[in-house]
């Protein structure tokens, strides 16, 4: 299951970032931010490919491990980049169930569709942070939790 979903603008600032264990939000922020290195690398590697033939899915970016000492979890981050260079990064907990590539792809496709819907919203100003519950389904969160604005109330611990 996905534990963190991030949408990152072309200029590498987060448009949307949300993680399920909210107490470790900061860790996921750092993780997503450092994984951008790999995303950049992969994008520049395939930069010469034609845009319409390009694979949007970037595959596995970054394997890591949960800090919890007692119960080490395997966390993997996956990347996806749209044609407009908006990046999706998803951190998946794969310690118990090995997720197949196809499942990750379909999750990204869903994410991409939802993002397209947000872009279609006439009240959304492109480039603004996304404050909606659209990615909640992917995380399996109740919508009420996700509707809380991203910019407020996030307290560092």
């Amino acid at each position: 299951m996905a534990v963190c979903v991030a949408v990152i603008a072309k200029e590498n600032y987060p448009l949307y970032i949300r993680s399920v264990p909210t107490e470790n939000e900061l860790k996921f922020h750092y993780m997503v931010h450092t994984s951008l290195d790999v995303v950049d690398e992969k994008i520049s590697a395939m930069g010469k490919a034609l845009v319409d033939q390009r694979e949007l899915y970037l595959g596995l970016l970054y394997p890591t491990e949960d800090y919890k000492v007692t119960f080490p979890n395997q966390l993997c981050s996956y990347g996806y980049v749209t044609n407009s260079r908006v990046k999706f990064v998803m951190v998946v907990d794969s310690s118990n169930t090995a997720l197949r590539d196809n499942e990750i792809r379909s999750m990204f496709r869903k994410l991409h569709n939802s993002y397209t819907d947000v872009m279609c919203n006439p009240f959304y100003n492109p480039g603004d942070r996304i404050q909606s519950r659209w990615a909640a389904a992917l995380l399996g969160l109740p919508p009420s939790l996700c509707s809380s604005a991203l910019l407020k109330g996030t307290v560092l611990r």
């Binding site: 590498n12 987060p14 931010h33 450092t34 910019l151 560092l156």
Partner: protein, 938 residues
Amino acid sequence: MVTVPFFSPVAVQRCPHVPALVPSQVSVPPGALDCWVFLSCLEVLQRIEGCCDRAQIDSNIAHTVGLWSYATEKLKSLGYLCGLVSEKGPNSEDLNRTVDLLAGLGAERPETANTAQSPYKKLKEALSSVEAFEKHYLDLSHATIEMYTSIGRIRSAKFVGKDLAEFYMRKKLPQKAEMYLQGALKNYLAEGWALPITHTRKQLAECQKHLGQIENYLQTSSLLASDRHLSEEERKYFCREILNFASQQPASPGHKIVLPMQSFAQLRDLHFTPSNAVVHVGGVLSVEITVCSQMPVAVHVEQIAINVHFSIEKNNYRKTAEWLTKHKTSNGIINFPVETSPFPESQNSLPALELYETFERSPSDNSLNTTGIICKNVHMLLRRQESSTSLETPSGVALEDGAHVLKCSSVTLEPGANTITFRTQAKEPGTYTLRQLCASLGPVWFVLPHIYPLVQYDVYSQEPQLHVEPLADSLLAGIPQKVKFTVTTGHYTVKNGDSLQLSNAEAMFILCHAENRAVISSNTREKASDASFRVQSSDKVTSISLPAAPAYHMIEFELEVLSLPSAPATGGESKMLGMTEPQRKHKDTQKAAHCMATTDHKVSIDCPWSIYSTVIALTFSVPFRTRHSLLSAGTRKYVQVCVQNLSELDFQLSDSKLVDTSGSTDLQLIPLNTTSQQHIYSKQSVFFVWELKWTREPPPSLHCQFSVGFSPASEERLSISLKPYTYEFQVENFFTLYNVKAEILPPVGTEHCKTGSLCSLEVSITRLSDLLEVDKDEALTESDEYFSTKLMYEVVDNSSNWAVCGKSSGVISMPVAAQATHRVHMEVMPLFAGYLPLPDVRLFKYLPHHSAHSSQLDADSWIENDSLSVDKQVDDQLDSSSLRSRASVHSATGSEHKGLPMPRLQALPPGQVFNSSTGTQILVIPSKDDHVLEVSVT
């Protein structure tokens, strides 16, 4: 205890940055797993190093760097676990744990036991002492950072650097930590990651506190205190840190710590009172600003000040007014854009370019010299590029030293919006630009270096002025008209007793009323008070005593003025001709028919504030236009006067009078008009007729004055009596001398005239009087007490009803005696059937050639003169049919005397000839053999 499982390096190499095996569900003591991972990573790396050359390793850094960082991470966590990172060194519990771990490692594998360096030895050494741990950890960290940097994974490098900074902080080495924290923070700021920014800033704040960098610490604290991602307690903590510092006695008095205001409070809007931000010298201006405090608690600020830049730009407050309408909302509030700081500055938060056209014109002829586009917010755009660094360094904020400062002391800023009002009294005229906003808390100054958009207020000084303008579009002569006086006091204070002295114009009066009221209002058109004032009039001077008014106010009042309604003098020759005015002149009057004649009255006014007098010109329009004409009926004469109302008003006319100004008693003017009042509507005319009667021989000319009283029809009662409207004119040669009678007789034996058959035209010209004064001219010839004059007659048919057969004109010698009659017989042929008007018979005076005249004028001019005089008459009835008869006149008069001085023809004034057959018609029946029947339907 756990044994480190063996794993294939090949498997790791295939997928190098995945920890290949994760032993799940195996209970291990804390740290054991880390040891295992650390060893595995280093083993793999060593194997790789062993089988590849340097170049290959370098090219594969991207694949191996993950292991390096993984190993670093694990060593770090082992160090924390075993108390090797603390300042004091490990305690007994830590030592126990270390011993357990070292024991769990077991003996080194035989393959590596003899090598000087192996991962096993490295780990053992690192865990055995604080210094060795530090060495190994730093080695690993630096190697990892270097590798990350070399392959361009800056973010990862910064992240490892942050771990390293944390390590240094634990070791109480903040000076080393600072560099890494700053580097990481710069990276996060550039990309706008809010939570990492806050976290790193918190670490940096601690570091700066340890380092004793007061300014930096205070700035970071202010940023953290306003950070919404922190908890309320943490924000309050950082806010208190600032307040505590501010309340301390400064070490060196006068030392200021200047910090950017952005994190402390944000300027939201600004509001001027008066709202147009234009104030006169000495006036009070208040500036109300709304600042949004970012602090979590109420902060007491000793002083808030706005630095103001002053520039002397006189008389440009018009320009500012223009500017105001463009840039400010109607209520005079200027809003400042809210800057959203957590966004990275590199992208969309860039303000839009504010481009304006500029035109530079040469001062001499106003021609365009240069044109261009300027960007007004250049400083915003250029500042942006280095703002990510200047955000953290207070050096970017320069405190301006302005002579003009708006201050507000002892203000408590509550969290959220606060309203602060500054009041100032304007002193010097000029433009004041608000530059900086500073809030001071003891030695700590929060400064907003640029207030943008540009905010200005203007102070002006004004000379006293007097304006006089009519209330209506145009002033009408003859009736009281209101004129508005506006005194703009400017810097002059009007005292009691100050008065305006008006020197009276000749034909214009200022009407004095018992009570006059003036309105005094401030320059912003707010009514201040009402006051009465007095107007005193002597025959030369009218004095208006002004009510007292403070400086920069306006006194407005209205006065009634009356101009005498005199018609412009008429009575040139052309007017006297009455009905037969020449065509050309007629056109002129037609053109002028819709505009009224005007008279200007100049009044010079002495104002108390100036030694010079002001001259104002008031233009009055005469509402009427008058024409006169002379009408005849045989020897009876009538004078008709037509009054045309040109104005928009309706008038009542009364007491119309026509008097002979020469005062001869034997002449009588008998009115044929109604005696009651007459209403004359706007743009309409009224006619008056008088019969002229005389007892003795009438004078050759008559001077008349027409006068009529008038008053506006709408007004009930006027307090003053109005002067009547007068019109003077002259009528000459009005006495009828000749009676012309024309008669057409059908051919003998027939009852009616027939078309195509000749009829006889009998013209009889009868002299009605004996020799009169007017007859004494060149045409008069005397022989033996017997006077005769030469006349030329001419038969003209301008409607081509008649064909004149034979001679149509001729010269006759007319005896100057009453009832002398001359008959002329002519043949005419009717061209159409029906009741036809008779052809015109005209009489001219036939003046002989005079030698005295010919010596002065050459022959050609005579001819010209002559034919002109004929033309004049003909032009009156100019139409195509008259061409023929006109040509005959020319041949008759022109060809005979070609090249010789010619006799002149002079038209008899219309008053002297009475055509008694004017208007008579004669029945003409069509001849039987007419084949063509002409039917004209009109």
